[in-house]
């Protein structure tokens, strides 16, 4: 079984954030926004499991797929040393994507940290009336892909935790203020759980369509091992759904944070 892709380009986007452009007709032809690939960072026993990384952008004409990741552990650290021309074993595309908006609709995305990457792909594939992006980063230096977001969204709001750029503090504050005045048709969110919880709750209360993309540690990445559990509503009770197969995108009202 072969999931090999060829690396067309690598780029350091900022301190600790890297982009890898894969050449893969298999992934490029099938991918939809919100899906991920499960990559092998080593051939050996170090960083043994595959690592799930969201698809950040797809160029169908050239069959390339961009993934962007943060170096934050054994596996992603190994990924940083991959170079142009190398082979990367990437299973996918995996999981369920976002529901794309209709032409006349107005949408907002709310992303934080590494959660912004799948949202860029969503925005670029959304051909609708109005797109607003709310993005949160730790600090000015951590901001990435700002130009790309700027090009695809009519309105871009950035917040930094330390106030070094844009709004000072969490991105949920400007988003909630905006939501007081506006009524988007769809809201999409990906990032830290506390952020998604606020966004999801506000949208559910107002009856606004909202989808969030969840993260969980994975084993198989395809729904066979049941380790990537995520608590969801089941009538009056709860169940554990699985992020890799039932998600990573879930309707906000289904989730129990």
């Amino acid at each position: 079984m072969n999931f090999d892709t060829i690396i067309r380009k690598t780029e350091k986007l900022s301190e600790g954030i890297y982009l890898i452009r894969l050449h893969s007709a298999r992934i490029a032809s099938k991918a939809v926004p919100g899906q991920f690939v499960n990559v092998r960072c080593s051939d050996g026993l170090n960083a043994y499991l595959r690592r799930p990384i969201s698809i950040c952008r797809v160029d169908r004409k050239n069959n390339t797929v961009d993934i962007v990741f943060m170096n934050r552990g054994k596996g992603t650290n190994l990924l940083c040393s991959f170079a142009q021309g190398d082979t990367l074993d990437a299973m996918g595309p995996l999981g369920n994507g976002f529901t794309l908006p209709k032409e006349k609709e107005r949408i907002a995305v709310v992303g934080g940290g590494i959660g912004v990457f799948p949202l860029l792909y969503l925005l670029e594939e959304s051909h609708c009336a109005c797109k607003t992006a709310f993005l949160g980063f730790r600090t000015k230096e951590a901001i990435v892909l700002q130009d790309a977001f700027h090009r695809t969204a009519q309105k871009l709001v950035i917040a930094t935790d330390d106030g070094s750029y844009g709004t000072n503090g969490l991105i949920t504050a400007p988003f909630m203020a905006w939501l007081e005045a506006e009524r988007p048709d769809r809201v999409y969110s990906c990032g830290p759980a506390p952020m998604m919880k606020i966004v999801a709750r506000a949208c559910v209360q107002k009856g606004i369509f909202c989808e969030v993309s969840m993260e969980q540690r994975m084993g198989c990445g395809i729904g066979a091992c049941l380790v990537c559990a995520c608590k969801v509503q089941d009538g009056d009770d709860y169940q554990y759904a699985h992020v890799c197969k039932d998600g990573p995108v879930f309707p906000a009202e289904r989730l129990i944070f």
């Binding site: 043994y48 499991l49 540690r217 198989c220 395809i222 559990a229 709860y238 554990y240």
Partner: protein
Amino acid sequence: MNLSVNFAGLKLKNPVIAASGTFGFGREFSNFFDLNRLGGISVKGLTLEPRKGNPPPRIAETPGGILNSVGLQNPGVHAFIREEIPFLRQFDLPIIVNIAGNTPEDYCAMAEILSEADIDAIELNVSCPNVKKGCLLFGSTPEGVSEITAVVRKVCKKPLIVKLTPNVTDITQTAKAAEASGADCVSLINTLLGMAIDIEKRKPILANTMGGLSGPAVKPVAVRMVYQVSKEVKIPIIGMGGISNGEDAVEFLLAGASAVMVGTAGFVNPGVWVETAEGIEAYMKKHGFGKVSELTGALQE
């Protein structure tokens, strides 16, 4: 070349079986390869009633392996029969049903129900480290294994496999207990109880604190246990624990196993089951073996 094996009332076209809990009910991996190429499937551990399983995180990566604490999340034996058997029967694939319970009555009830179902064997899981009651408790002592095996044997009309836990001082004792109480076969090893700690948070990584270790890291322990058990029992053995390729599988066969199960390695390489069977075949060709059964216990000592 003919890779078929025939033991304990099971006819497998090759000796490589998907290990319980790592392969669901086959649906997911069927999108990646032809399940007809498997020797068999041991399905996700079932209980009488559906079980929700443990809270996440349920997995931690450790050197050369993983810890899991899924906690037997499953739809229950009835839903399995209704919804999963018809799917699996599309393939030429022996179905081994892995079952777990809190009480001897649970095990018996399931064995009775499954004896009437269209399946090929029952694998008693008396070794799950991830549930509070029953299960591992029974598997930890020869008396516990005897008790469960004997009561299930009375009602079970299918080949009966008892899956042993490595979390004991002497696994030959529990193996002998299973044999004496009517098991047709033993499978080993289930996961080794383990733990991993996030030193920054000063908390266990698994929400359930402890979990079961599997993957390449456990292989030498598993081979040793298969070897020891093969010296003490006459019933066939299914060996598992950390198998990633044909060579690994051959180690288990030489140590005394009649077939192998492969699990964790499939998370990294979904081709592992097919490649393991091919690797066994290549080894047999190279060394002039005509039948897989000639490898079983063929260790030169």
